[in-house]
C-alpha cells in the first residue's frame, strides 16, 4: 500500500467513523457542504448564517454583531482569535476551518463590507486553525 492510498483511507475512515451521540443529531455522514475555498465562500458557508449576507448582524432576544465597518477587524490577531475560539454563543472554528480557509476568510473580511485594512493576514496569524476536532460531551 502506498502512503498516498493510506492517507486517503485514513481520511475516509475519519469521515465515516461512528461517534457517540450526546445530542439529537441527524446521524453519520451527512451535512457536508461543498468545500469552501475563497474567503467569500468561507463567509457564505460558515458566517452569514449569523452575521447575515450583508455582514450587518441582526437583533433578536440578543444580537449578532455586525462585521461590516467593524474597527475590531483592524487587528488581525483579535479577529483570528475570535474565529478560532468563539465568543459567547459563537462556536470555535479552529477545527472546522483549515489554515488556508481562515487566512482567506480574514483577508476577505478585512477588505470587504466597508472594511479596508491592507496589511496582509499571515500564516502566523492563523496558526491556531486546522486542529483535530474537539470531542463534545
Amino acid at each position: 500500500m502506498t502512503s498516498h492510498r493510506f492517507f486517503l483511507g485514513a481520511l475516509a475512515a475519519l469521515a465515516l467513523t461512528a461517534a457517540p451521540a450526546f445530542a439529537d443529531e441527524p446521524g453519520p455522514g451527512g451535512s457536508k457542504p461543498p468545500v469552501a475555498k475563497t474567503g467569500e465562500e468561507v463567509y457564505r458557508t460558515y458566517c452569514q448564517a449569523c452575521h447575515m449576507a450583508d455582514a450587518k448582524g441582526a437583533v433578536g432576544a440578543g444580537a449578532f454583531p455586525a462585521l461590516a465597518s467593524n474597527p475590531r477587524l483592524g487587528t488581525t490577531g483579535y479577529a483570528a482569535y475570535i474565529v478560532a475560539n468563539g465568543k459567547g454563543g459563537m462556536p470555535w472554528f479552529k477545527d472546522a476551518l483549515s489554515k488556508a480557509q481562515a487566512q482567506a476568510l480574514l483577508t476577505y473580511l478585512r477588505t470587504h463590507f466597508g472594511n479596508d485594512y491592507k496589511e496582509p493576514v499571515t500564516a502566523a496569524d492563523v496558526e491556531a486553525f486546522g486542529q483535530t476536532p474537539t470531542s463534545r460531551f
Binding site: 439529537d24 458557508t45 433578536g60
Partner: protein
C-alpha cells in the same frame, strides 16, 4: 408445584440481601430482576412547606421553566413566568399551516401546510428511557404515538459509493454483516483467533457467524435464499404457479464499505436512538401546550428581559414589553433562569464573575430543518417506506418520512433536511427559498421521479436565526465541562439556572426537565434554610 425444596420468595431474598449489603445491593438485585430500571428520574419531587408569601420569578416558558413553575407552585410559592415569545413551549415547537416564521435578519415565511400537517423544527423524537418527559406527558394528558426510528427499507446514499446511487438500508447492512462474518470465519480457519479463543469457543463463534451473517454451509456469503432473506429478494416469495422467489445480487463489498453503512448501523445503537421512540399525536408542540395548560396563567408573554439583579432582599428583573415598548421591573424572592446562554450572556446582571464566565463559555450548535409538503405519500405508495429516515452524505443529512396517518390520501409533510455542522451553517445562511431548492435538489436522489413533481410547498427553521434562542443547543466539551459546568449549575444566592444547557442530557427535552427538577430542589432547600 411443590418440588419439596423451599425456595425463598423474592421479598425474602431481597430482605436477606438488604441485611448483608444494604440498599445498594438491593437496588442492584432489583435491577437484575427488572423491577427498577436505571433512570435518573426518581419520580416527581415532593417539595412542600414553602414559607408563606415566598415568591419565585421564572425566566422562560420553555419546558424547564414551566416544569419549575408547576412544581414550585405546588410547593406553595407564588410564581410568575416571563417569556420573550408570544407562545409557551420554547424549542418544543410545531409549525402548522397559517403560521408565520420571521427570522433574525428579517426573512419571513408564511407556512402553507394543509390542515393537520406539521413540521417539528426542534425536538421530534423521544427515547423510551426519557422517563421524566414521559411521566409529565402522561400527567398532563399529552397523547404519544410511536416514532418510527428504525426502518430497514429506507435508503442510504453516499456521493462516494455506488456512483451516487442510494441503496436500501437492509441490503447494505446484510451485505456488511455477511462479508464480515465470512472474513471472520476465514480468520478462524487460518488460526488467527486461536490465541484468544478455546477450540470450543471457536466452534460456537463459527456457528454464530453462520447464522448472523447468513452464510452457506461452506461459511461463504453468497447470492441465495439465505442472504436474500436479510437483504431482500429480486422477486419476493409469492403464491401459486409462479410463487417461487428469486434471490438478489449482492453489492460489491468495496462499495458497501464506502457507503459508510457501519456508521449508520452504529448510530441506531446509540442509547438515545434505540427503539422504541415516541412522538406526541399532532406535533411535538403538544407537549408545550400540555405544560401550558398547567401554568400558562402564570406567564407574561412578549417580555424581553434586559436586567437581572439580586441583593440581600431579593431578585429584580427588568423587562420590556416587546409589543407596547414599556419597561417594567418585577421583584421576587428567588429566580429560576432558563434563558438560553446565547441570550443570557448578553443580559446585564450582577451575577459573579465566575458565573458570568461560565455563561459566556458555552457556544451553541446550529441545525436546520426543512419541511416539504408533498401531494401524496409516494414513499409509501411507490417505495413501501412507512416512516423512518433515508440518510445521505449531502448537507441535508437525511430525509425523514411521516410516522402517522399511514395510507392516507392527500398531502403529507416529510422532513426534507436535518442539517447540522457545516451543512447546517450553509443552509442557515441561505434565504428560505434557497433552502427549499437545495432540499429538493438533494432529496431527489432518493425519489427522482416524484420529488419535484409532487412538491407543493415548504418551510424551514435555521436555529441560529431563531430570535429567542439564536442557536440550537449548548455545546459542551470536556474542557468547558471541567472548567465551567459546576459553576454554571451552582445556586448563586437567590438565582439558579436551568435548561438543557445545565445538564448532561444536552439538546434533549429530558435534560431540560432533569435540570429544572434539580435546580428547584436545591432552591427550595435554600429557601427553607434562609
Amino acid at each position: 408445584m411443590d418440588s419439596g425444596r423451599r425456595t425463598p420468595t423474592r421479598r425474602q431474598l431481597l430482605n436477606a440481601i438488604g441485611l448483608m449489603g444494604g440498599t445498594a445491593a438491593v437496588y442492584q438485585m432489583m435491577t437484575t430482576f427488572g423491577h427498577a430500571a436505571e433512570t435518573r428520574f426518581p419520580g416527581p419531587p415532593k417539595l412542600e412547606g414553602a414559607r408563606k408569601g415566598s415568591t419565585v420569578i421564572v425566566l422562560g416558558a420553555g419546558l424547564a421553566g414551566m416544569l419549575a413553575a408547576y412544581e414550585l407552585e405546588k410547593a406553595g410559592y407564588k410564581v410568575q413566568i416571563l417569556e420573550y415569545q408570544n407562545r409557551p413551549g420554547g424549542r418544543n415547537w410545531s409549525i402548522y399551516g397559517g403560521d408565520k416564521i420571521t427570522e433574525m435578519g428579517g426573512a419571513t415565511q408564511n407556512v402553507g401546510f394543509a390542515k393537520g400537517n406539521y413540521l417539528n423544527p426542534g425536538p421530534w423524537r423521544i427515547p423510551h428511557h426519557h422517563k421524566t418527559l414521559l411521566h409529565y406527558c402522561k400527567a398532563f394528558g399529552v397523547a404519544l404515538e410511536p416514532f418510527i426510528q428504525f426502518n430497514h427499507n429506507t435508503y442510504v446514499h453516499n456521493v462516494d459509493a455506488f456512483g451516487g446511487q442510494p441503496q436500501r438500508f437492509r441490503s447494505l447492512a446484510a451485505d456488511f454483516e455477511g462479508n464480515i462474518a465470512e472474513l471472520l470465519g476465514k480468520a478462524i480457519d487460518q488460526k488467527a483467533l486461536d490465541a484468544k479463543l478455546t477450540p470450543e469457543d471457536t466452534d460456537r463463534l463459527k456457528e454464530a457467524l453462520r447464522g448472523w451473517g447468513m452464510l452457506d454451509k461452506d461459511m461463504r456469503y453468497v447470492k441465495g435464499m439465505a442472504s436474500s432473506s436479510h437483504r431482500g429478494f429480486e422477486l419476493p416469495p409469492g403464491g401459486g404457479v409462479n410463487g417461487a422467489p428469486k434471490p438478489s445480487d449482492l453489492l460489491p463489498f468495496d462499495q458497501v464499505l464506502r457507503s459508510g453503512i457501519a456508521a449508520n448501523m452504529s448510530f441506531f445503537m446509540n442509547d438515545e436512538f434505540q427503539t422504541t421512540m415516541f412522538q406526541p399525536v399532532g406535533g411535538m408542540g403538544k407537549i408545550g401546550e400540555g405544560f401550558a395548560r398547567q401554568v400558562g396563567r402564570l406567564v407574561t408573554y412578549n417580555a424581553k428581559v434586559t436586567k437581572l439583579f439580586q441583593d440581600k432582599s431579593g431578585v429584580s428583573v427588568t423587562y420590556t414589553d416587546t409589543v407596547k415598548g414599556v419597561a417594567t421591573t418585577a421583584k421576587a424572592d428567588y429566580c429560576v433562569c432558563t434563558i438560553p446562554l446565547t441570550v443570557l450572556s448578553q443580559i446585564e446582571s450582577n451575577l459573579s464573575e465566575k458565573k458570568q464566565a461560565a455563561i459566556a463559555a458555552v457556544p451553541y450548535s446550529n441545525s436546520v430543518k426543512i419541511g416539504l409538503e408533498m401531494r401524496r405519500r409516494f414513499w409509501e405508495e411507490d417505495q413501501d417506506i412507512f416512516g423512518g429516515h433515508s440518510f445521505t452524505s449531502q448537507e441535508i443529512g437525511l430525509i425523514s418520512y411521516p410516522n402517522n396517518n399511514f395510507f392516507q390520501d392527500g398531502p403529507a409533510v416529510l422532513l426534507g433536511a436535518f442539517a447540522g455542522g457545516p451543512g447546517g451553517y450553509r443552509l442557515g445562511g441561505m434565504t428560505p427559498e434557497q433552502r427549499i431548492e437545495v432540499a429538493l435538489a438533494q432529496g431527489s436522489v432518493f425519489h427522482p421521479q416524484q420529488y419535484r413533481k409532487e412538491f407543493m410547498n415548504g418551510a424551514s427553521v435555521a436555529w441560529n436565526r431563531v430570535p429567542w434562542v439564536m442557536g440550537c443547543c449548548a455545546r459542551w466539551n470536556e474542557d468547558t465541562r471541567r472548567e465551567h459546568y459546576q459553576e454554571l449549575v451552582a445556586l448563586e444566592d437567590r438565582i439558579v439556572l436551568a435548561g438543557e444547557h445545565a445538564s448532561y442530557v444536552g439538546c434533549w427535552m429530558e435534560g431540560s426537565l432533569l435540570s429544572a427538577l434539580d435546580a428547584i430542589t436545591r432552591l427550595h432547600k435554600r429557601a427553607l434554610e434562609a
